[in-house]
């Protein structure tokens, strides 16, 4: 379980998180929605320790996320970045097997390559992609490789940052289905950030609406449409009228 308690983070005068409270039960898929610049990515990066919160506590399975063995902590996570964040200088299989080629999870190169190819197959890519470089792939293929990398070491917790941004609706659907399948199959705890309501409906068990640095509403995805929360309603309808200012 991931728990964020009263987390604050400011960048200069911009107070992005203003007492964020959030709980993600183990083995569930939480999707955080909210407008651009509302601190969704900041919240995610605070959990991973990529950004230090100014105050507040973050717990993973009851343990303070800022303490203890950092490598062991990060080994529990996989992450799919918005732009895939693949390493340009490496081939696709080396990207996917990055964790398996070094550090505590190191394996022989042949074995790591086999696992990488199997993970590539799992995300719908053929083995001939393995020896290509990321720059030779389309955006959708890069996202799939990023997804394969995120699951290569079979993490307990997977984060997805805007998994469908920049993809066409069909490829978005493919990625959404893959995420749902993989999370269910692995029994992983998932946290996804997205603006894409079709992703929310496909991926989420629970949804949290972030606005003004705090969670405005959270609940099961099935209750989202009837939440009665003006922020959620405006976000779902995409209306310019409502509590969320259109000009920010």
């Amino acid at each position: 379980m991931i728990r964020m308690e009263n987390v604050h983070k400011a960048f200069g005068d911009n107070h992005v998180l203003q007492g964020l409270d959030l709980e993600i039960p183990k083995g569930t898929s939480m999707v955080i929605i909210g407008g651009s610049g509302t601190g969704k990515s900041v919240a995610l990066k605070c959990i991973l320790g990529l950004i230090q919160p100014d105050s507040g506590m973050i717990y993973v399975d009851g343990k303070d996320a800022s303490k203890g063995d950092r490598d062991a902590f990060l080994a529990r996570f996989g992450m799919l970045f918005q732009g895939a964040a693949l390493f340009d200088s490496m081939t696709v299989w080396q990207n996917v097997a990055f964790r398996l080629l070094r550090g505590s999870l190191k394996r022989p190169a042949d074995e790591a390559r086999e696992i990488a190819i199997e993970k590539l197959r799992r995300v719908g890519l053929k083995s001939d992609v393995a020896d290509r470089f990321p720059a030779e792939l389309s955006g959708g293929m890069q996202k799939r490789v990023g997804l394969a990398r995120a699951i290569a070491a079979e993490p307990e917790i997977i984060f997805f940052d805007e998994p469908t941004t920049g993809l066409d609706p069909i490829m978005s659907g493919v990625i959404n289905d893959l995420i749902r399948e993989i999370v269910t199959e692995m029994g992983a705890t998932a946290m996804t950030i997205t603006h894409d309501m079709s992703s929310v409906r496909a991926i989420a068990d629970n949804v949290a609406m972030l606005h003004g640095g705090v969670i405005q509403w959270t609940g099961p995805v099935g209750q989202m449409d009837a939440s009665g929360d003006p922020y959620v309603e405006q976000f779902i309808s995409g209306s310019a009228e409502g509590p969320i200012e259109a000009v920010r």
């Binding site: 964040a85 693949l86 990398r149």
Partner: protein, 260 residues
């Protein structure tokens, strides 16, 4: 302008400069500490050796040979004013080994390697590849900075040595082909005139300049701003800082080696 306002502005500028020096010094210490502590990344170190050392050889060689040749012509023309044309071999040797070899190689490395490191790391930062490294349990300082700094520390003195030899060869070629010097006498005068201290100073300068070049590239890359403009600024800033620090370090090291 109010003198107090001007003084305040000067104070802020000095404080800002000192803070920047402090940040770079802490970054350099951190980078060096990561060179000494495992895990080590031999593949990345090998790639850095190749990129910084081997692939810099053509530009270093061409710079040195033309500089050595021009130096011979200048010394010959200048020496002729007081009948001292015969000193060409000695002055080319001392000029290349003590000053021009290390400084020109250092500046070429700043142009070629510092810019490349800064642009590569800054792009990785902008595209979240640095964050990806962290989430994959890999320390960016250890994986990106340490191999590059160690490779520069080893290869730049070697490049300086190569540059010194090629520069002297450039002077030798011009002097023997165009200025009528006897080849054997030229070589003997060159070898006889150089001292161990000259060569040691050249190599020490190379190591210092390599360290500066790699550290500045990594520092600016790791601290780049967002977007293409951030990458551009990081690249430009890294080359400017590396070039100025190399020239300043050259002055200090020349004082250390030769003012006693």
């Amino acid at each position: 302008m109010n003198p107090m306002t001007a003084l305040g502005g000067l104070g802020r500028a000095v404080l800002s400069l000192m803070a920047a020096f402090g940040r770079v010094a802490l970054f350099a210490l951190d980078a060096i500490s990561h060179i000494l502590r495992p895990p080590f990344y031999p593949r990345e170190f090998g790639m850095a050796l190749l990129n910084i050392g081997w692939l810099s050889l053509p530009v270093v060689g061409l710079t040195a040979i033309f500089t050595g040749g021009a130096l011979a012509l200048q010394i010959y023309a200048g020496g002729a004013r007081f009948n001292a044309e015969a000193v060409v071999p000695q002055i080319v040797a001392i000029g290349m080994v003590r000053e021009l070899g290390p400084v020109l190689v250092g500046l070429m490395i700043a142009a070629r390697v510092t810019s490349s490191i800064a642009a590569e790391i800054a792009t990785m930062k902008v595209t979240e590849q640095i964050d990806a490294l962290v989430t994959l349990s890999t320390h960016p300082m250890k994986y990106l900075t340490a191999p590059r700094v160690l490779a520069a520390l080893i290869t730049v003195p070697a490049l300086v040595a190569v540059g010194d030899v090629i520069g002297i060869a450039g002077g030798y070629t011009v002097a023997t082909q165009n200025l009528g010097f006897n080849p054997a006498t030229y070589l003997k005068n060159t070898v006889d005139f150089l001292e161990t201290r000259d060569i040691v100073s050249s190599l020490v300068k190379g190591a210092a300049f390599g360290l500066i070049a790699a550290i500045m590239g990594c520092y600016y890359g790791m601290n780049s701003g967002r977007g293409a403009q951030g990458v551009g600024r990081a690249t430009k800033g890294s080359v400017e800082a590396a070039a100025v620090l190399i020239l300043a370090a050259n002055f200090v090291l020349t004082g250390v080696f030769f003012s006693l």
